[in-house]
Amino acid sequence: MPTYEGGMSFAQEFARGMRKSPPVVLSSAPFGLLFGALAVDNGFSVGEAVLMSATVYAGASQMVGLDLFGQHVAPWLIALSIFAVNFRHVLYSAAVGRRVPHWAPAQRAFGFFFLVDPQYAEAERKAENGERVTFAWFMGMATPIYVCWVTEAWIGASFGSLIPNTYALGLDFLLPIYFLGLVLSFRTRPLWLPIVVTSAVASIAAYEAIGSPWHVTVGAAAGMALAAFMPVTGNGDGEDVA
């Protein structure tokens, strides 16, 4: 078998990436199913729900899109809101782009489609630990997450009305808990606490003043501005965030 990088075959690297997927698959499954169920509830067909999960592939923005669709907001404004929620991916792609100079252009064009929050966080963590972010590892992590996400939309849309009391099961609040875990994993970075506090306050203020989805853009911009204007203390590379 030909070696891929660092003596690992493509299949071995792919398998290593796959091992990063179960926590993401498990924690996003309720939302994948919920999205499908809510989509049908808001007037989507089963096929349209699956199409959205397969092509947009960004949970929070899909939920925002559904919500606005149900309120009969102008189509261009729905598309713009999806973009606003997903604008953070510009920053993810800029950050991960620095980690994958060894990828071919076609690999970047393909791989970056799958750059969802946990995919970004794991790639960044791997790079910070001094490991090479290979295309095989990246797609190994992305493939199960993507396949499950699209399948869940179909299941949720098909059987949505059968889900029992979702509030009692806490389904709607699992994502913030998961995001909290990701935020904590970055706690050794420079200025972590001031950034988190600033973004928290700014996002709550924006949520109250302007409303969703702009709290994401405003809160993130506030945290980034703080980091940019504080004295430079180091780039945070090489730190153990496990």
Binding site: P23, S27, F44, E48, L51, M52, T55, Y57, A58, S61, G65, L80, F83, N86, R88, V90, Y92, S93, A94, A95, G97, R98, R108, A109, F112, Y120, A121, L169, G170, F173, L174, P176, I177, L180, G181, L182, V183, R189, P190, L191, W192, V196, S199, A200, V201, S203, I204, Y207, G219, A220, A222, G223, M224, A225, L226, A227, A228, V232, N235, G236
Partner: protein, 97 residues
Amino acid sequence: MTTTVWIILAGAVLTYLSRIGGHLVLSRFERVHPRVEASLNAVPAAVLTTLIAPAAYHGGAAEIAALVVAGIVGWRSGMMTMFVIGAAVLVAGRNLL
């Protein structure tokens, strides 16, 4: 095609542009300024916090308790442990409180 399909495809194209755009635009620069670097390093904590804070702000006792316990557990242990315990506190809180 229905209006719904057009909205979905427009959202998909814009989302893909956001995922490839940052890299395409930033890779034009030879060297990244330290302050740009610092703000890029702030991205994950800053963005992910905005997905938590308003939800926590509007949460009730069960939601706040789940986040606090998950935060304490997460400080000492791994992702899956903190997630499972946080979810357990949430479900318990919603059904018992």
